[in-house]
Subunit: 252 residues, 2 copies
């Protein structure tokens, strides 16, 4: 909304354990925050099962629609780690053992612990370049606009920080967050008018219940600092006009 041609991205979270509720995903929030800080707009996320059809479809839909695609999960050594061959299939290229990835894995393991399952982590689509893994060595990879990362959060984060310099960011988006103990329904009309007055800002309202009190946080986002300040002032006036106090919150 706030850019003419924002740089866009999608996240694909791969893994049955997220869909069965066994594991709470935290990679999406991390990537959302980091991409936002880089001025890249995360347009959607998909959580898919560990099946070839699901992964190939999601990768192909997202890589066609967005500037960047980030996947997490499914790059370990076991039978359910099928991300690399699915991404290869999505691109219509064969899988090959990446010599540099294999070298890193061989350097990492005691020779008696080297086995085919572990070395299979070096199998990647032809044309892939490595994403470093400073935590547990086995690398991720990039092919075209798709970045394939581990699912373990500590590893996903380390991989992302290592690849972030490769991303072309858009105009960084700033925000102002102002809360109040008003009900959302009391604020709604005024907020709607504020959005009409500042159509290039993205105005979101998020009700909360904390420490026994209800309230609503309003987040203003945009690329122009001066416009954000003006809209934030108008929002403070709106809140005061409804008999409440604006509560300034940390901008995320």
């Amino acid at each position: 909304m706030s850019d003419d041609a924002p740089v866009t991205a999608a996240v694909i979270v791969i893994g049955n354990e997220i869909l069965s509720g066994r594991t709470q995903d935290t990679n999406l929030k991390f990537l959302g925050e980091r991409l936002h800080a880089l001025g890249i707009r995360l347009m959607e996320a998909r959580v898919v099962r560990d099946t070839e059809t699901a992964i190939v479809e999601a990768v192909n839909a997202c890589r066609a629609a967005y500037d960047y695609v980030f996947t997490t999960g499914g790059i370990g050594p076991t039978h359910d780690d099928i991300t690399a061959r699915c991404v290869a299939k999505a691109f219509g290229v064969p899988v090959e053992r990446n010599a540099e990835a294999e070298r890193r894995l061989l350097a990492q393991y005691d020779p008696k612990d080297v086995n085919e399952a572990r070395l299979s982590m070096a199998d990647m689509p032809v044309g892939a370049s490595l994403i470093d893994n400073p935590v547990s060595v086995a690398p991720g990879f990039r092919i075209a606009n798709v970045f394939v990362m581990a699912g373990v959060p500590a590893i996903a984060r380390a991989m992302f920080e290592g690849l972030a310099h490769e991303l072309a960011g858009g105009a960084p988006v700033s925000s102002r967050t102002i809360a109040s103990e008003l009900a959302e329904g009391a604020l709604a009309e005024g907020l709607g008018a504020l959005q009409e007055r500042y159509p290039t800002l993205e105005i979101g309202s998020y009700p909360y219940f904390r420490l026994g009190r209800f309230g609503v946080s309003v987040v203003l986002r945009g690329t122009e600092e001066e416009m954000l300040d003006k809209a934030a002032d108008a929002l403070r006036d709106l809140i005061r006009g409804l008999g409440a106090e604006p509560i300034e919150q940390e901008t995320d």
Copy 2:
């Protein structure tokens, strides 16, 4: 994998605040667990922005592909709460003010607090039936196989528990979870063989790092208790054969 015709579902999480990283979604994990317990297989989840195109596309893709679709978010009173009219658009039906929903809202508010924004929460697709909201009154709704719920986790949970009796579950899926302090790469070959021996089970392996120790949890899922017990025994033997101790974990 374990049923011939499992009952399937998708979750659509609606809201810019999830994609910007501002808010950690927890509804997906909750719904994944509850659907799993009801024998319904959650096949995918999508997180989409508060835009008509994104919501309509996701709803139409998922309602055609799966038995049930659950959406969370975007049903409040503010300008960015557009889920109801987008779901109506997806179904090609008009929006109308639901008389029973309006009655509940009017009963809830002090007359001086009634305004058009609040009453707009009673606007729903023609043909929708209400989903009760025991937390904050404003109801969700069901239209055909799509269940539209609030985003606030406490409300989403209460709404789901109220509608769960309407869902036709499949065969309940049981699981066994056995961990060990082996590396995933040491287990991989044996696990692959176990999966081949029990093709109707779903075998997932999830490395962890907790309390300074690395390990891997293996989850076996299926609908046949006896087969699960046999496969779990074989897994314990595999772990012992690799020189480690099986660690029994709570089944989720």
